[in-house]
Symmetry: C2
Subunit: 386 residues, 2 copies
C-alpha cells in the first residue's frame, strides 16, 4: 500500500481499506446499488445482504444484528451514546475529543488517570454521584496506548447500581466504552467487558471511513440524533449505508480472525523500535503502561526536542508518525491526554506517537528506526544537547 522508501507509523490516525474489504464493497456501488427499502426482489436481496452483514459484524464482538446501530463513524456513535442522558456523566480525563465534547454538554466529572494512564475502578466509583447516568471509558488510549480495566470498572458500576436500587434510586447508570482503538489487537466482547454501550470505528480497522457503530445492550435507552425515515429501528434515519456496512463486517471479521497472531507480530515490531530508540537515547521516556498497552502502540518523548520539527524532518525521509494524536495535531495545543498524565511541558513537546499495523514489517520498521535515530541525533546536535 505504501511504496518503497515510505514508512507509515501512524495506524492509529488512519488505516487503508484492506483490498479484501474493498472487493466485498464494490458490487454495492454498482450492480447491487438498490435502496434496501425498495420492494422488488433485487432490492430485497440487498436488504438481506445488509442485515446479514450487521449480524456478522455484531458476531465478532458477541452481539446481535438488532443490537447495533450503524453510524457515520465513532464520533457520531459517541454522540448517540450520550443522547438520552439528562443527568450527570463521568468520563476519564484521557478520552477522545468526541467523548470530551459530548460530556461537556452535560454536568460532568473527569476521572484522572494514574501516571501510567490507568483509570482505576476506585477512581471511577468515587466520581459517580446519585445523579450519574453514564460513565464513558475508552478501551485503549489513542495517544499512549494504555488499555483500561473496563471489566473491573463495569463490576464497580454493577455494585453501585445494586446499592442504588436498595435506596430506590431508579436513575439508569450505563457504561459506554469507546473501543475505536484496539479492535484486531485485543479482545473486544460485550459480555466479557460487561459494558452497556460500545463504539467501534470501521475506519480504524482497515474498513471504510465514515462508518461506525454503536452497540446498545437490550434495555438501555438511547435517543435518535437524526430523525426521518425510521431506519435502524428508528434510532438513526437515512438510507442504510449498505456498501459501508458490508465493508465494516468484512474488516471486523478479518481483524478478529487474525487478532492473536497480529498482536504478537505488532508487539515484536514495537518492542524492537522501543529498544532501538531507548538504547540510542538514554534520556528518552516511554509513556503509558509498560504491559497494559496496545501491542502496536509506542509513545516516546525526547526531552528538549520539538516534536513538530522532528515530524517534518522525518517526513522528508519518508517516515510518517504523529505528535500527540492526529485529531489535535492541527490545533497547536498541547494534548489534554498528556496534560492529564501530569507530563512536563518539555516531555510533552518532545513526544512522538508511533503506531504499528498492517503496513509495518520487520524490514521497513528497521529502516524507519535507523532514520529516526539519525534525525533525533541531528536535532539534539542542533539544539546543543547531543
Amino acid at each position: 500500500m505504501t511504496s518503497d522508501g515510505l514508512y507509515y507509523l501512524d495506524h492509529a490516525a488512519a488505516t487503508p481499506v484492506d483490498e479484501r474489504v474493498l472487493a466485498e464493497m464494490q458490487p454495492y456501488f454498482g450492480e447491487r446499488f438498490f435502496n434496501p427499502s425498495s420492494p422488488y426482489a433485487p432490492a430485497v436481496a440487498v436488504r438481506r445482504d445488509y442485515f446479514d452483514a450487521k449480524a456478522r459484524l455484531a458476531h465478532t464482538f458477541g452481539a446481535k444484528a438488532d443490537e447495533i446501530i450503524i453510524t457515520a463513524g465513532a464520533t457520531e456513535s459517541i454522540n448517540l451514546a450520550f443522547s438520552a442522558v439528562t443527568g450527570h456523566v463521568v468520563i476519564s480525563a484521557i478520552e477522545h475529543d468526541a467523548v470530551v465534547a459530548a460530556a461537556k454538554r452535560h454536568s460532568h466529572t473527569l476521572v484522572a488517570p494514574t501516571e501510567k494512564g490507568i483509570i482505576t475502578p476506585e477512581a471511577v466509583g468515587a466520581a459517580i454521584t446519585p445523579d450519574t447516568e453514564l460513565v464513558s471509558v475508552q478501551l485503549a488510549n489513542n495517544e499512549i496506548g494504555t488499555i483500561q480495566p473496563v471489566r473491573q470498572i463495569a463490576e464497580k458500576i454493577r455494585t453501585i447500581q445494586a446499592a442504588r436500587l436498595k435506596e430506590n434510586n431508579k436513575r439508569p447508570l450505563a457504561l459506554h466504552c469507546d473501543a475505536s482503538q484496539g479492535f484486531g489487537q485485543i479482545d473486544i466482547h460485550t459480555a466479557r467487558l460487561g459494558i452497556d454501550l460500545l463504539t467501534l470505528n470501521a475506519g480504524k480497522m482497515y474498513g471504510p471511513k465514515q462508518v461506525g457503530l454503536l452497540w446498545v445492550r437490550p434495555g438501555v435507552h438511547v435517543e435518535p440524533l437524526i430523525v426521518g425515515g425510521g431506519q435502524e429501528r428508528g434510532l438513526r434515519s437515512g438510507t442504510e449505508n449498505v456498501a459501508g456496512t458490508i465493508g465494516f463486517a468484512k474488516a471486523a471479521e478479518l481483524a478478529d480472525r487474525h487478532r492473536k497472531s497480529e498482536a504478537e507480530r505488532l508487539s515484536k515490531l514495537r518492542d524492537t523500535m522501543e529498544q532501538t530508540l531507548a538504547n540510542a537515547f538514554k534520556q528518552a521516556v516511554v509513556s503509558g503502561h509498560p504491559k497494559k498497552r496496545l501491542p502496536g502502540s509506542l509513545h516516546i518523548s525526547m526531552p528538549g526536542l520539538d516534536a513538530e520539527r522532528l515530524v517534518f524532518a522525518l517526513e522528508q525521509r519518508g517516515v510518517m508518525l504523529a505528535t500527540g494524536s492526529a485529531c489535535a495535531a492541527n490545533k497547536n495545543t498541547r494534548s489534554h491526554v498528556l496534560t492529564a498524565l501530569g507530563m512536563s511541558d518539555e516531555l510533552a513537546d518532545g513526544s512522538l506517537r508511533l503506531t504499528f499495523g498492517r503496513l509495518s514489517n520487520e524490514e521497513n520498521c528497521r529502516q524507519a528506526a535507523a532514520i529516526i535515530v539519525e534525525e533525533v541525533k541531528k536535532e539534539y546536535e542542533r539544539v546543543g544537547r547531543a
Copy 2:
C-alpha cells in the same frame, strides 16, 4: 449497470455510483488513505484534495467550499438545518419524511399543496407567524415530481423579514430547501433560488451513498448535532469523508455538465411512457403538475388496482418501479404526500411511481412500457374491470 431483461425505473430511490465517480474515489481507499488532519506531506495533500473537492462541489450550485458542511446524507443535513431552531417552523405538507420528522420536534405548521402539488408563496406566507424561524420547502417532490416555486417563496420570506424588522422583531427567519431530488435535471443555484440553507444528497445523483451536504448562507446560524474533533468548522465533527466528498464533487460536476441534454432526454422517455400508458388505459390518472415537474418523473394511478400486487407482478418480468416513495414503501401506510394532495384512497392505492435516469434508454423504456401495459391489463382482467 443492469443486465438485459432488467428495467430499472426507480432512480428517485437509488442511483448506482457512476463509474467515473468511483474511479476518482478509489485512490482514497488505498494509497491516499491518510487522515487529513495528520501533519506529514501525504496527509496534507489529502487535506488539500478534500478542500479542493468541496470547492468544486460548492461551485456547481454557486457556493463556496467553506459554506458547505459535508454530512452522512440528506437526512442528517435536514436535521442539521433544523438544529438551531427554538421557535416555530413552517414546512410543506409534502416534504420528505426527514423534514416531517425534524419539524415534529418543534412547534410547526404544514402548508397544504394545490391539487397539482404546488406550494404557493401565498400559502407559505399565511403560515408564517412572528415566532417562525425556519421554512422548509423541497425543490421537487420525490413522489409526484412537482417542482416548487422556491424563488418566489424566498421573495415572500424577504418581504416578511422586512416587515418584521420594522416591528423590531429580530427573530431569524431562514428558508431551507431540500433539493435531494432534481440535481442534474433542473437548475440549482443558491443565489438564483434565494435560499438560506440547501440540502443535497450524493446518493441520488450517481455519487456515493451516505454522503450529503448542507449549504449554509454566511450569517445563518446552525448548531452542531455531532460534536468532537471540531471538523467542518466545528459544525460536524468526525474524520472527514475524503473518498465520499471526492466522489460527491465528481458526481455533481457530471450531473451539472450534462444537465440540459439529460433533462431533455429524460423528459422524452417520460413523455413516451406517459402517452403509452394513458393511451392504453383511459382511466389512468397522472398526478403532479403537468409542466412544473421533474423531467424524469412520472406518477400514474390505475384506479381499482392494487399497486403493490402490480409491483410484484412487474418485478417478475424485470421491471423495477415504486409504489409511493421507497422510504415509506415498507411501512404499509398510505403516502402522506398523496393524502395531502387530496387523492382518493382508490387512486392512491393504485399509484405507481416511475423515475427515469441514466439506466434508462429508448429501447429499455419501450420494452418496459409494453410489459407494464400487459401486466396492468392482466390485473384489470383479474379484478373484472377490463
